[in-house]
Symmetry: C2
Subunit: 189 residues, 2 copies
DNA sequence: TTATTTATTGAGTGGCTATTCAATAAATAA
DNA sequence: TTATTTATTGAATAGCCACTCAATAAATAA
């Protein structure tokens, strides 16, 4: 057989950039062809169709997201400090002029009402739930089950909030104040 | 002249339902034709184009949103209780199987990267800022400026959070616990 | 009444959409 | 080598997209 001349990961990463910026629908196959350098036939041969490619991108994206959370928390001096650092990083990201929120969040909103793509919506929802579970399992090292559960939800609400609030220009300081007000149990000083 | 045979408000309300469910791009003019009962030519004659219609819908939507906030808070026994009630209402909305989040939030995420529609994104961002200002001005009746400002941001972060978290099934109780954790200064009992 | 202005109609347009497919190329298996 | 399997190519396709426009209808202005 002819070896695959492209690297699957690179195609997924390049597509991820496009999907993150524009979302599922607004990213056309033509644009995917341009950014990946593959011909239409190759894409369909390797990935099936646009939705399947998107699903692979989503999978990769959520794996990277969870890995980043783990790295940040594991590398911090305490779990609470790691969580705080992750939140600060999320805020810092949103300053970037090319800020494009979170692909899982975007997908959740974009495809909720799409009858055909509903599985993609559920997929994104499940991944977000897993991120919440990750926070909860970290918290359970320090707090009781009830507290950990509540605080994990609270963290997710705040992250979702930042993902949207971040589109307001020059809002980083405001967001940090808001986070501090809502998450006073984190080691802010 | 021939009188307009349709009522502008009704057309906007019907379009609003569609746009809320599907977002800007995924709502086709054909679907707008179907749900409003107008012919394509009439829509273009009366509203200009899809983007202009959408802008009118957004304007109407944000006016309704702000009116609802005002009604809820003005009708409550205290400002804090009114805010709490508004949050509880927002959570309750998200239980609805036809839940479609918030059009301003959706627009913010959908059109941020769209070069042509960037004004729509900015428009939505400004309206969300005005809602934040509304909360702040209410809070300033009870708290100092600094506290009011922080808490208004905190409220917005939580509302945004609910707008996304709400897509998870059966999450109302969890969300309320999370809100209580993040907004302990509200009169929960 | 007649002239003018405005609203409605609905078939039609060009362009973009995701996707396909027969032909070709290249690698391995026999 | 020869046969078989798989990858790549890029032009082609059908369908949907936002949008237009000439014809018609209806209301007011004169």
């Amino acid at each position: 057989m002819a070896k695959a001349l492209f690297k699957r990961n690179e195609v997924i990463d390049k597509s991820m950039l496009l999907f993150c910026r524009k979302g599922f629908k607004a990213s056309s196959m033509q644009q995917i062809v341009e950014t990946t350098g593959l011909k239409p036939g190759s894409i369909y041969h390797s990935f099936g169709n646009k939705e399947a490619l998107f699903r692979e991108v989503l999978t990769s994206y959520s794996a990277k997201s969870m890995a980043k959370v783990r790295e940040t928390i594991d590398g911090a001096e305490s779990i609470d400090e790691g969580i705080l650092l992750h939140l600060k990083n999320t805020v810092a990201e949103s300053i970037n002029p090319n800020y494009c929120s979170c692909l899982l969040v975007k997908t959740q909103l974009e495809l909720a009402a799409d009858e055909n793509k509903n599985n993609l919506h559920d997929f994104a929802a499940n991944r977000l739930k897993k991120i919440e579970s990750l926070f909860r399992s970290y918290l359970e090292h320090e707090y009781d089950e009830e507290t950990s559960s509540e605080r994990a939800v609270s963290i997710m609400l705040h992250i979702f909030g930042v993902r949207i609030y971040g589109y307001q220009q020059g809002s980083a300081e405001l967001m940090l104040k808001g986070l501090r007000a809502g998450l006073p149990w984190l080691p802010w000083d």
